[in-house]
Symmetry: C2
């Protein structure tokens, strides 16, 4: 059986966009199955005392992030544009991504949402934008849309967010392996894929700081 890597992403996250556009190809190359798992950073940030993205809380970090993504996207031949509203409210998008699992379309729909936002600069809290994303990947909004009010869909997103927090996740994208090894950031994707296939033997981990 193929090893699996769980891809934890938040739709408002710029670095999640970078990963979303390459993770299926990188997984295939590494022989690792990718499980796309949307969650919400909002509740996790709130528990750290932030009411918005750290890129807004710390402007120097926000300016750097835009430049860093611009460089990386350019190197990968990806378009990149910051949406006017940042961070977007990704609640509906995340519920739709979960609902799309019923059609085997979570990854395709998620990529469409990331592209609308970070290549097109669109506001993904807008129903029309999301409906267009559904259509673009061959889904019928009339069938999928009503499912975002299903208790099972709402509960699944809530569970994902709680599981993320329980695994120590504090940002996106993050990756976890079958043995719950956590990797954070698009720049750790290669290491995460390697660990999924062949976990490292490490010396006893030192204490956490503080």
């Amino acid at each position: 059986m193929k090893p699996t890597l769980i891809f934890w992403y938040e739709f408002a996250s710029t670095y999640s966009y970078l990963t979303a556009m390459r993770i299926d190809a990188e997984g295939a190359r590494a022989g690792v199955a990718i499980e796309w798992r949307p969650f919400l950073l909002g509740p996790i940030f709130k528990s750290q005392g932030w009411t918005t993205s750290p890129f807004n809380v710390y402007p120097a970090k926000g300016r750097y992030m835009v430049r860093d993504i611009t460089r990386i996207a350019s190197e990968r031949g990806l378009p990149f544009r910051m949406p006017e509203t940042f961070p977007a409210n990704g609640l509906k998008a995340a519920r739709l991504a979960i609902a799309a699992r019923g059609w085997g379309a979570t990854a395709a729909f998620s990529r469409a949402v990331f592209e609308a936002q970070f290549a097109g600069g669109e506001d993904i809290s807008d129903d029309d934008v999301l409906a267009a994303c559904l259509t673009r990947v061959g889904l019928d909004p009339a069938s999928v849309w009503p499912r975002i009010m299903d208790d099972s869909v709402k509960a699944a997103l809530k569970r994902n967010t709680e599981m993320a927090q329980g695994l120590g996740i504090f940002g996106a994208p993050s990756f976890t392996t079958a043995d719950n090894e956590l990797f954070w950031g698009d720049d750790r994707l290669a290491e995460a894929l390697r660990w999924a296939s062949a976990p490292m033997a490490l010396p006893n981990s030192a204490d956490s700081p503080g």
Copy 2:
């Protein structure tokens, strides 16, 4: 003339340790001269409202950092151990590193301090630990030590810290090129070295968030 990359580091920074132990070799391989420039993160963190390291402010981030460094250090064959006091007060170490420039020993002394702290677990705010680091790299503490009270040394460290903030630096390690392109993090060293030799032509940068 060789291009130059400025290496901005803070002695209390775990990721700066990772970079310090490889940057001279990586620079030589890339044909880029490295300028070691210590600065203090304390005043920059203070202006963001933090009174300690973000790894203490956000415990999940702190736990992840220790694990992440453990993995990377292990892969690079570097010893790693968190010191009991974290973050260390690196003021004296930074002044000594600047003073050591007079003996052409800033890089060697800085590596010795990072090793004492993150391989040996020692407290680098301790005068004896720092004196041993001087001795280890062939410097005479009796000559170098008095210089940390020189106004020129104090002013140089203050200037480094102000310049860092002016360049948009918010963490360590950071790297800047002759055209003031900023890279943050040990995982951006290769990109920074590449930029120093051959800056990328980028599309107009998008606006910063918020």
